[in-house]
């Protein structure tokens, strides 16, 4: 490289460094100003803090939920011009790819077990605004001989109180492109899947307001709250781990008509599983039981939390079926 060019680049590099430092000083000063205005010094609540009181007040619940929301990157603010804005819940749409095992009632021909295990490819698209979820699974019976039964491919969708099955993604929206089969009876169970994910738990707990309680059990922080709307009658109990991440979610109900909504889900191995980093943490391993039986055991490969383009328009025939 010619000396003159080299020197010019070095000068330019130093100028940029000075500019960057000046910019950072500007930003830092603004941040300090904001903090002094708002007041500082409160320690984040530690999960599992021993407490004699079994149930907290509303303020404790608020702090706990904030800490949990920050722990998984749901509560966020940005210094890119937004340093004076409050923190907000940034999670709307998420797409998940994973694989593992799912279980369905019915005897396994191989083991004689009353439930059949399926090797499962798992793909989920979901959104909270509007609340909707599309679960695509390709399942192969673990009991089937190699080259035996064809994999079972299903696409189950829910949006609000609409539920339907798609023959292909987006079926039923454009003439000639697949069929959408209404599945009204499945709406509540599918909807529940959305709200017992860690993000859904925190959103629903925040929405429950004063009805959300915080307690400690065996040294762990526990959040308890009722669901509402079409899931009214179901209570959620979420247990935090030492990192304030949601480790376990249990749903309970006294209503026999909602007994299929009694579930127990364990979440572990939290990390940013996105190809595009977002600092939104998600569980890497999900294990769910229903009525005491394992129904799902999935390892997450990738999770796109960057609010990707995911939409859930309701096909006309599904709307008509729900109106009947």
């Amino acid at each position: 490289m010619p000396l003159r060019a080299s020197m010019t680049k070095e000068i330019a590099r130093r100028a940029l460094l000075v500019a960057a430092l000046a910019a950072l000083a500007f930003q830092t000063a603004a941040g300090q100003s904001n903090e002094s205005k708002a007041g500082a010094g409160t320690k984040p609540m530690a999960a599992g803090a021993a407490s004699a009181a079994p149930v907290s007040n509303a303020s404790d619940a608020t702090k706990t939920l904030k800490t949990a929301a920050e722990a998984i990157g749901l509560a966020r603010w940005s210094g890119v011009g937004g340093q004076r804005l409050p923190e907000v819940d940034v999670v709307n749409t998420i797409e998940i790819w994973g694989s593992g095992t799912t279980y369905s009632p019915g005897p396994s021909s191989k083991s004689g077990d009353p439930w059949t295990a399926f090797k499962t490819d798992y793909h989920v698209a979901l959104g909270y605004n509007p609340p909707a979820m599309r679960v695509e699974m390709t399942r192969t019976s673990s009991a089937a001989p190699a080259g035996g039964a064809a994999p079972l491919h299903t696409i189950e969708v829910v949006r609000d109180n609409y539920a339907w099955d798609e023959s292909e993604i987006g079926a039923g929206l454009v003439p000639g492109k697949g069929t959408a089969t209404p599945a009204v009876a499945a709406a509540n169970y599918r909807f529940l899947q959305l709200w017992i994910l860690p993000y859904g738990v925190l959103k629903a707990a925040l929405a429950a307001g004063d009805k959300t309680k915080v307690s400690t059990e065996n040294g762990a922080t526990v959040i308890t709250f009722p669901l509402s709307g079409q899931l009214a009658g179901v209570t959620v109990k979420a247990t935090l781990d030492a990192h304030n991440e949601i480790a376990k979610v249990e749903t309970r109900t006294d209503n026999p008509a909602l007994s299929d909504l009694i579930t127990e889900t364990e979440y572990s191995a939290y990390a940013d599983h996105g190809e595009i980093a977002t600092d939104v943490l998600s569980p890497g391993h999900i294990v769910r039981k229903q009525g005491g039986h394992a129904v799902l055991d999935i390892q997450i490969k990738t999770l796109d939390a960057n609010n990707p383009y995911l939409v859930f328009p309701v096909p006309e025939n599904v709307k008509k079926a729900a109106a009947r």
Partner: protein
């Protein structure tokens, strides 16, 4: 990539992102300053001036700047996220979004700030509904926008992505819109539009060569100026974020309504080739620069040099 190149790029990015808003305010000749404590639209004040022919006069410097340059608050406003001091609302769906007051939060480095900014400006619910066969294409464009965005490399943003014009001149038979080049989310060239309002009709679309800005004609519906545009190329994306491509048959209807010192803009995109239904942007409200001597600063020549050094798919 050599470490020194990464360092230089990081320095450039930090300098641009942090200094840009301050620099632009300085250029604003004492004009109105966006209130960064919320993303609520400005409240109109003062009378709406009328032209001799009885229409609202849209002439003026609106924000004085391209409307995506002011960082996260303006970008959140543009996608319909209204952040107040204690509450946040998605104005498209009406959904309340959890909000925690500004206190006791941890410091963040630039990388954390950038990632959070990306999420904040993408959290709105107002999304165009494409035909299902295009869903994956939109996602792919969006995920790879650092490489795929047609407006990078100093190309025009196009209509309606360019948003609210920074300057409007109004005559009885023409509107002239000026859009300074942007260096914020995307690096685009300075652009202008000359819009006849003399009652003429569109050219037959078969006779139009598709362009970034298309062929626009304007007319008044009451006190609202309606700008109707056809004749696009299929190169541009129609919103700032999201990989929202379109066909040459896109039809855009923009509405400009002045109320005192504010100008509310919306754009409706019709494209039955790719969309299931028309899509309308969330209303954006621009504020008039009250300084009668204010002028638009000259945009620096757009010269994209970071593009070759992009090493991740993270958005900026």
């Amino acid at each position: 990539m050599a470490p020194h190149l990464r360092l230089n790029r990081g320095i450039v990015l930090a300098a641009l992102l942090c200094l840009l808003p301050a620099a632009l305010f300085a250029q604003n000749n004492g004009g109105p300053r966006m209130d960064h404590e919320n993303t609520l639209p400005p409240t109109p004040t003062g009378p709406t001036p009328m032209t001799p022919d009885g229409h609202p006069d849209l002439t003026g410097l609106w924000n004085g700047l391209a409307d995506n340059l002011l960082g996260v608050p303006n970008q959140m406003h543009n996608v319909g996220i209204e952040v107040g001091p204690d509450s946040t609302r998605d104005i498209h769906s009406g959904v309340q979004i959890a909000t925690w007051p500004l206190q006791n939060r941890q410091r963040q480095n630039n990388e954390q700030n950038e990632r959070a900014a990306t999420l904040l400006r993408r959290m709105g619910s107002n999304r165009p509904i494409y035909k299902p066969q295009y869903w994956q294409r939109v996602k792919d464009f969006d995920a790879n926008s650092n490489e795929e965005d047609p407006s990078n490399n100093c190309m025009p943003a196009g209509v309606p992505r360019m948003g609210v014009p920074s300057y409007i001149a109004q005559t009885p038979t023409y509107l002239v819109f000026v859009y300074p080049g942007q260096g914020g989310l995307i690096a685009t060239a300075t652009s202008y539009r000359m819009i006849p309002t003399d009652g003429r009709k569109h050219t037959n679309i078969e006779d139009l060569d598709g362009t970034w800005n298309g062929e626009a004609i304007g007319h008044w519906e009451g006190d609202t100026m309606v700008v109707d545009t056809i004749g696009f190329n299929s190169t541009s994306w129609f919103d700032q974020l999201g990989g929202y491509f379109h066909s040459e048959n896109m039809h855009v209807i923009e509405r400009f309504h002045r109320d005192g010192n504010t100008l509310t803009w919306t754009a409706t995109v019709e494209d039955p080739d790719v969309l299931l239904e028309p899509w309308t942007t969330t209303p954006r409200v621009a504020l008039l620069n009250p300084d009668p001597k204010a002028v638009l600063p000259e945009s620096l020549p757009c010269s994209e040099r970071d593009f070759a050094h992009v090493v991740t798919k993270e958005h900026h």
